[in-house]
Assembly symmetry: C4
Homo-oligomer: 222 residues x 4
């Protein structure tokens, strides 16, 4: 088991493999969703947009400068364009010392975001789940606040909201943000932590939705 990636070549192959795994789980589909990871030069490997993510090849990533999102290198295929999530990815990288960010289009993320909307809240509170320990720095006795931001047609407005969330002390322990009606961004210090956080948060999305459904069902009862 490789727990660390020793080179950009390994990172590219791991990102490609994870996209296949996430496609199998329904977290990326319909060309939606994506992943980024560290390039050897300090840049960010970024998947192209509008492509079937489970079919990306290791040499098809862009590298961008996380300081401003500018493109450093591009894949050979001139038809490929960098992911629209570029600014979001770079923001998480800069503000949270992440080197890898996953963009999920999972239905469970959307349904978890619906819980916040139903409660007119800007977050989902997660508690009483051992799986919380899978998030760095979080314990299973903690109530973990997961921020939910509005979906917008323009990426710039997402960046603005995410900037606010990342500065909000209530969300200091979060490695993810739900975008309502859309999905989630989940990050980690390296690709392996981003993978772990991605699996953990999807478990948490499913758990809070299932428990909420159950609570609603039981509340109906006389």
């Amino acid at each position: 088991m490789a727990t660390s990636t020793s080179s950009e070549r390994d990172t590219r192959e791991l990102l490609v493999e994870l996209l296949r795994v996430f496609y199998g789980k329904g977290w990326v589909s319909g060309t939606g969703g994506g992943i980024s990871g560290p390039a050897d030069d300090g840049g960010l490997l970024l998947a192209p947009t509008g492509v079937h993510k489970e079919r990306i090849q290791p040499d098809e990533f862009f590298t961008v400068d996380p300081a401003d999102g500018s493109i450093r290198t591009r894949p050979a295929d001139p038809a490929l364009r960098p992911s629209e999530c570029n600014s979001i990815f770079c923001l998480a990288v800069r503000e949270r010392a992440a080197t890898s960010v996953v963009h999920s289009h999972a239905l469970s993320a959307v349904l978890a975001g619906d819980l916040a909307a139903a409660a007119s809240s800007d977050h989902v509170a997660i508690r009483d789940l051992e799986m919380l320990k899978g998030i760095r720095g979080v314990g299973n006795r903690d109530t973990h606040l997961l921020p939910v931001i509005r979906n917008t047609p323009r990426e710039s407005e997402l960046v603005e909201q995410l900037t606010g969330v990342l500065a909000d002390p209530r969300f200091a322990s979060s490695f993810a943000v739900i975008v309502a009606d859309h999905g989630a961004y989940i990050w980690g210090a390296d690709v392996w932590e981003a993978k772990r956080h991605t699996e953990v948060y999807h478990f948490l999305f499913e758990a809070v939705v299932a428990r909420r459904d159950r609570a609603d069902r039981r509340r109906d009862q006389p």
Copy 2:
């Protein structure tokens, strides 16, 4: 990552692979469901009927003339007959400039169609989902109307209804039609777009059903 198919041989192999993927997701099963794609001569590659779709081989497709559905070439096995969806596929190809049509037997398509029946409506309205952007020409602020037609024992009656739907301006942006109690037809300009639309629409089917269930559950509450 091949984003375009360069020859009919590639298309045949891609169609075969997608049938395996769709079988794994439960969108084709029990010999139900299917796929078609472009032949090099302008015809339509059509899977045979009554066979286990995830096991079709590249040389087992028919080619038909999309103008009238007449058979141009047949696979070597004389026992194979062309898909019963032939006229439907050809209709979508002619009326919407599609070259690839997927026929889904997914339960989520049936359950989404039930929502229209429950509301005595001829469509399902889909909104507030980023995944809508995965449909060509549709934005995430749009309300997307997905037509639902009645299931009929005779294919000719399906064709008649679909003809009406394709001429209906309310459904001009739709690349799919749900057949109640049955499944869905989903198309695209090429096989890759048909794949993307297939994944997007199945996400949308699942999302509207889950949200409707949740709304029904909460409406029970005092």
Copy 3:
């Protein structure tokens, strides 16, 4: 695509492969569930009992005489014993001209059986589903009656009930029986038809359960 099996060797390999597919779908698990198919000598290939079905090898089947269930040949491993479903399998083979029977331990079969129990009925009525056409001789306008028998600690009592069901004209078109709290037996004229029927009936199990849940949820509403 092989639509017919040309020899017992092929049949054994197909049975082994289908057990892996069914394990992946959760229809056989925990050593429960199984499959049988035709041997070249007119006997029935029968999986051993108490083993992890997705790991069976082609040379590990028994062959039994469907007339009385007596063992004709056994696998080399003396620890293996024939499936406890032997008499049930042989009964379906004799009474319905089946040569292949699948025994499912799917949760969806159990939940579909619960619907009959809740209605104090001995069957589940299935209608308004195109997938019904996947059952030989059944149309999508038919109401298909799927028998449900009680689970019993003794196989002989299952045989007795199944004998009654197979003689019941209401169930003449059924290629399956649900055993309440247990699962289902599903058969076909050959292995391919048994596979098709298995996929179709599991779709039907899931569909009737999902529609019943939805109806219950909506009935709550004022």
Copy 4:
């Protein structure tokens, strides 16, 4: 089909394979969950903690003394630490003559544990399911009591509770314990029995949750 493992090398490979299977089913994820099995020297093979379990290699297990959990051998990678479940695993091995213990992080285990909490009970009663026969010594007419213990931040408190459960005659026939909000520990006399029990108990978790949901839904009805 290998029904017994003939050497520690085989056991290590089987454990590695099962972790991949369980990851695919969502029973281990996010580095949570694990498995142990018998070493040739009478010790217990133990997966490392904090790693992505589906990627463990056969040479990455620790061996520990089940008498006191002390480490006998360690994998070459000095960064690896033994699973935090060590004491729990050793306890089950000592008290129940198990040689293999699975630690599941499945959502279905958490939701089944919620049923006990909702009923202020220390167990879940499981009945009317043929799959109960997949648990050694249990019949399909039995009511099987599955103990549920509280989750705690400290492993020592889990050990204390589990000690009580294993001494409780009500739970004498159980090969599993649910840890509320966390998952389950499931064991067997050998790895194959632990695998069978793991599949059986997850079926039972899903079944009791689905039946409870259905009962809650119907209770709402006038």
